[in-house]
């Protein structure tokens, strides 16, 4: 792929201070997995083989030793300096030099219809014993295989027909010709030329994703949009669902969340204007010239930016030049959106960063189509789009409310994300037969759940102990928590290593890590960060 994936995991979790005091944000458990597993999983599902993770030394060290991070993707770390308070844009500046110009990828290709490397892999024929071990130099194609077509549902059987040497400069037409010259196959036999080659891709695009994105989305439509429109930026957005449940430890009304005013065109993909509520005074102002080009603008206030962006690589070059930009979401994206509709201004303008596309220029030159006319809908050198996710789970676990929400919903989607043999209740957990663990709950490894307990809509971490007659409802229990006899935990978050005495009743509370709560304590809507005595 021409994409380089970059995972931003250097945030301090400033909106999650209650939880990040002991565990760095990327490692906070969501569904008994570190949060960072979800974006990695997202990338892996999209076919990425490597990713650059921008994070702190601490997180890297812990991640290297982390047992549950079952991902095949190759992790490449970029450490940010500990002392500096580095912004998201700074992180991208750091990573800019590391993005290599090209990338090698082994792939198979099939002669005849596909000219390009394939993201969906073609079945590689088993190595024929008589085939030479390595193709000779300059040989693009080394084998000509014939497959007897899929017989009775089984996989195709591959026979080697003839060793043909195809030189590198041979076009696919030549290969197809070679194919035709082969002895005519029997009817029903499919003939394929297959070769192995190392595809060299120029890295022209960057996929930036934040570590707190918990989603089961598929990236393909987003990337399709990016490629189809030759966009400078595509952002993933999703409609926000109004959460209704109370946030642990927070009294009164939930804080007013800052909304974004997102202006989209009729098709709902082109991003025409973007402003955060905090940056606006009383008015939303739009340029008249914009309205002349896009006379119908849909202003949406219910979209959440998932902090997942496909960017052209030149945007990073721009970022290196524009030192004043500090945040990707707050400054870079609005900047690009605004610049879509401005004419190039002199040398210092960002249009200078856009690499010239020789082919497009030639097409423009030879075409009778007027650039200014075409500029209406999909024109302009810079184009920003959004991909709206409908349905599915997509949350940013960057506040306590959304963190709780993510934990609650994740049990629903985890089965589709995990490897098949894993399940919500870890096989090593010992669960008493007389206890009730709901299908919407998760229990971690080697956790003991004793008799007559009930666990509903909750996540219980690894190495926990839940004693007799306890009830856990809509709660998050992190690792190594001990819950005493007859406790009643509702809508609460128990951080790592918390110990609850017998008969504790908590409702909508947050218990800090390694806090011991005395028996028979009753609390509602509190943050418990110190030892509680009766």
């Amino acid at each position: 792929m021409e994409f380089q994936a970059v995972l931003l995991a250097g945030g301090r979790g400033s909106r999650l201070t209650e939880l990040t005091a002991s565990v760095p944000k990327p490692l906070l458990p969501v569904g008994n997995r570190p949060m960072i597993w979800y974006p990695l999983n997202l990338l892996e599902r999209a076919g990425f083989e490597e990713v650059i993770i921008i994070t702190t030394k601490e997180v890297r060290n812990q991640l290297n030793t982390f047992p549950a991070l079952s991902t095949k993707i190759h992790l490449d770390y970029q450490i940010i300096p500990e002392d500096s308070d580095s912004s998201t844009a700074d992180s991208l500046r750091l990573v800019r030099k590391r993005i290599k110009g090209t990338r090698k990828r082994n792939s198979c290709w099939e002669g005849g219809d596909s000219t390009h490397c394939i993201d969906a892999p073609v079945p590689i024929p088993p190595k024929h014993p008589k085939a030479p071990q390595r193709p000779q130099k300059h040989h693009l194609c080394s084998f000509l295989f014939r497959a007897s077509g899929p017989t009775k549902g089984g996989p195709p059987v591959w026979h080697r027909c003839r060793l043909t040497e195809v030189r590198k400069q041979d076009s696919l037409a030549t290969i197809a010709g070679l194919q035709q010259r082969c002895p005519a196959p029997e009817p029903g036999v499919h003939q394929v030329v297959l070769g192995r080659r190392t595809a060299v891709h120029k890295v022209t695009n960057v996929l930036v994703v934040s570590c707190d994105l918990v989603t089961d989305a598929c990236l393909q439509p987003l990337v399709d949009l990016f490629r189809l429109r030759n966009a400078a930026l595509v952002a993933l957005v999703r409609q926000v669902d109004e959460p209704t449940e109370p946030i642990p430890g927070q009294k009164g009304k939930r804080p007013h969340e800052q909304r974004d005013f997102v202006g989209l065109d009729e098709s709902g993909t082109r991003l025409l204007s973007l402003a955060s509520e905090a940056d606006l005074d009383d008015d939303l102002s739009l340029k008249k010239s914009l309205l002349c080009r896009f006379s119908r603008i849909h202003i949406k206030t219910n979209l959440m930016d998932a902090h997942l962006y496909c960017l052209k690589k030149w945007v990073l070059d721009l970022l290196a030049e524009e030192k004043s930009i500090s945040s990707v979401k707050g400054e870079l994206v609005p900047f690009l959106v605004k610049k879509q509709f401005s004419a190039p201004l002199g040398q210092k303008d960002l249009h200078a960063f856009i690499p010239a596309d020789g082919l497009a220029g030639l097409a423009q030159e030879r075409s009778a189509w007027d650039e200014t006319e075409a500029a209406g809908r999909h024109g302009g050198a810079i184009r920003c789009y959004v991909h709206q996710l409908r349905g599915g789970l997509c949350l940013r676990a960057n506040t306590l409310a959304s963190y709780v929400e993510a934990n609650k919903q994740v049990a629903r989607v985890l089965p589709s994300l995990m490897v098949a043999e894993e399940c919500l209740i870890h096989p090593s957990a010992s669960i008493s037969e007389k206890s009730q663990v709901g299908a919407d709950s998760m229990v971690g490894r080697e956790t003991q759940v004793e008799e007559r307990t009930s666990v509903k809509r909750s996540v219980v971490g690894d190495y926990c102990v839940v004693r007799l007659r306890s009830k856990i409802t809509s709660s998050i229990v992190m690792h190594r928590v001990t819950i005493g006899e007859g406790c009643n935990i509702q809508g609460s978050v128990l951080c790592e290593g918390a110990v609850l005495g017998a008969g504790v009743e908590l409702k909508d509370c947050l218990v800090g890590s390694h806090i011991e709560v005395e028996p028979r304590v009753k609390r509602t809507n509190e943050i418990i960060e110190r030892m509680i005595m009766i």
Binding site: Q239, F261, G263, E277, L280, D282, D283, L284, S285, L286, K287, K288, S289, L291, C292, S295, R296, I297, H298, I299, K300, T301, N302, K338, F341, S342, A343, L345
Partner: protein, 693 residues
Amino acid sequence: MAARGKSGHRVGDADPDEHQALMAVLVADSFNQRFAPITLDKPRALLPLVGVPMLEYALETVAAGGVAKTYLYCCAHSDQIRDYIASSRWAAERNGGGMVVHVEGGSSLRSLGDVLRDVDAKSLARSDFLLLSADGITNMTFCGPLHEHRQRRQRDRNVSVMTMVLSECAPGHPVRCRDDDVVVAVETASNRLLHYQRVGGHGRLKFPLHIFQGFDEVQIRYDLLDPHICLCSPQVPQLFTDNFDYQTLEDFVRGVLINEEILGNQIHVQLLRDTYAARAGCLQAYSSISIDVICRWLYPHVPEAWLRQRGAGLLLGRHNVYRCSGASLGPGSVVQQDTVIGDGTTVGSGCYITRSVIGRNCVIGNNVRLEGAMLWDSVTVGDDSTVQRSVLCDGVVLKPECTVLPRCVLSFGVILGPRLKLAEDTALSLHLPEEARADEEGFSDDETHIGEMSPRGYVETDVGMEGKGYVWCVSSHDEIDGKIASTLWGLSVAEAKELGESEESDSDSDTAEGPATPPPDDTKMFSVEVMDSLQRAVDECVSCENLILEINSSKYAYNVTLRDVTQTLTRLVLELPTLRTGLDAPPVKYLASFKQLLMTWLPVFKNYIKRPSDHLDCLTAVEETWSSLPALHGTIGKVLMLFYESELLDEEAILRWFSQPPSSSNSTALHKDLGLLKFIQWLKEAEEESSDD
């Protein structure tokens, strides 16, 4: 008429209860002067559009929409409209049980607000009614929108007071005239109107944030045209009565939207996609709608319907050429496309006619070119003349070899030529422009005061040897006439495009350097005030302390920054000598005068120029003044020398200012000034010397 019968049938199919005595209020006045000078003689409603008064289209539409009773409100020229109705087929005695038309009003009504207050006073509106403008041209049917309007009112217990009909029309479309250029915000789900704004000349459009509150998606639409067709509830006239300051529909809409939280009234919109609705708000729109009628976009309002009604035979040629059988076309004349030629008209030989309307009993000479010309009745065009995209009213005579360039208006009875070329955007009338201006105090345009003004001789260069008529506007150097010229035709498409583009680049430069605030008026006022103080100080030898006091008090009065004070002061002192000696005084005299002023007011300057930033401000002001003040060219070095010698500016500041990259072409030119270079050179050397010591 065929159309009427058809629609009437459709109405009959719908629920009979819904259509009990549907009523329409048709306003036959636009309450503006955009058709002046034509409307001095005839109200806009009676101006012919493809040979038929515009009013006729509106009446036909409401009649076809199942309206039982129409109140026709006429204001200016009400007698003409009354006479017209009395003699038309809408008159009660000729109507034969069809729609009843009551003519109401008089010249005492001066706005749409007055009309609706009159409707309320006479309690004419007992149920939902239609509100239309007589210059609105549409072929829409009202059943669907009315049904939705009534359902909405039933569902929400009369919260929705009005449904506005808006038709889709891309920006820059010729039917849109600048006055109709509105931008609206509509909630997608319910079609509720949240914001309504006239665009005007604003480069940026602002939408208050509260309109987005509580809605997931709001559409901002600039592709809508307001044809002034509304479905009103009986509350609307009452609201006009309650708020006696509402003059226009726009006032009302804005008022309802602003008071939405208090009164709980809402306005909804009905978007038209398949049907045609437009308003002949300016001549640009008028001529575009004419062509649309010819091109049959307004079916059933098509030319043959009207022409047959008069009993005239009709020849319909290909490419929408309609020729009455009584019209004659000379040999070799070509009628290209989209043209109507009225009865009794004769066209000479060798003519070329395209996209034009020629009324009845016109006489077109030989070798005439008509491109987009709107000729009303009894117009005479002499041989070898050309008319492009202009309106020629009844009885206009073009003598031979005249050329009328686009966007001209020749009002009733004007005679032009011979051998005259009429520039673009010219309006001619037999009335003096002063008549209209005298009338302007009253809002309504259309009443005339013919004969009150003493007639003036016709100017030969304007209308030709045998011409008759006064020029209303040639170009925009006269403010009032310029306004008429630009609004009469509206902006042409090309102009609008240019405007849009220049705007784009302008606002881009804004965004590049942050929003550039135009210099507030206060600074200007402050500058005037300080200038007064300075001049008085020179004349009356006011002491420096008092001068400082005066400047300070002005500073507080206009709330300007210290920086403005420094810059203004510097600029004024640089300008003052030229005011006293004259702009082209020799440099020596200028310098002497300047030196004297500087020395006198040294304490004043010292008071304001203290910090290093003040030095730079002062220098910036010098730089800015330099470009506008020719006296400074060549003397700038000496002037700065004086500043330097009087220890107002130190060398560090000057050198730093000079080393800054030039910000504009002016400052680049300044940096090449020989005197300045010499001075800078001298400064540098002096500095080196001192550092050597």
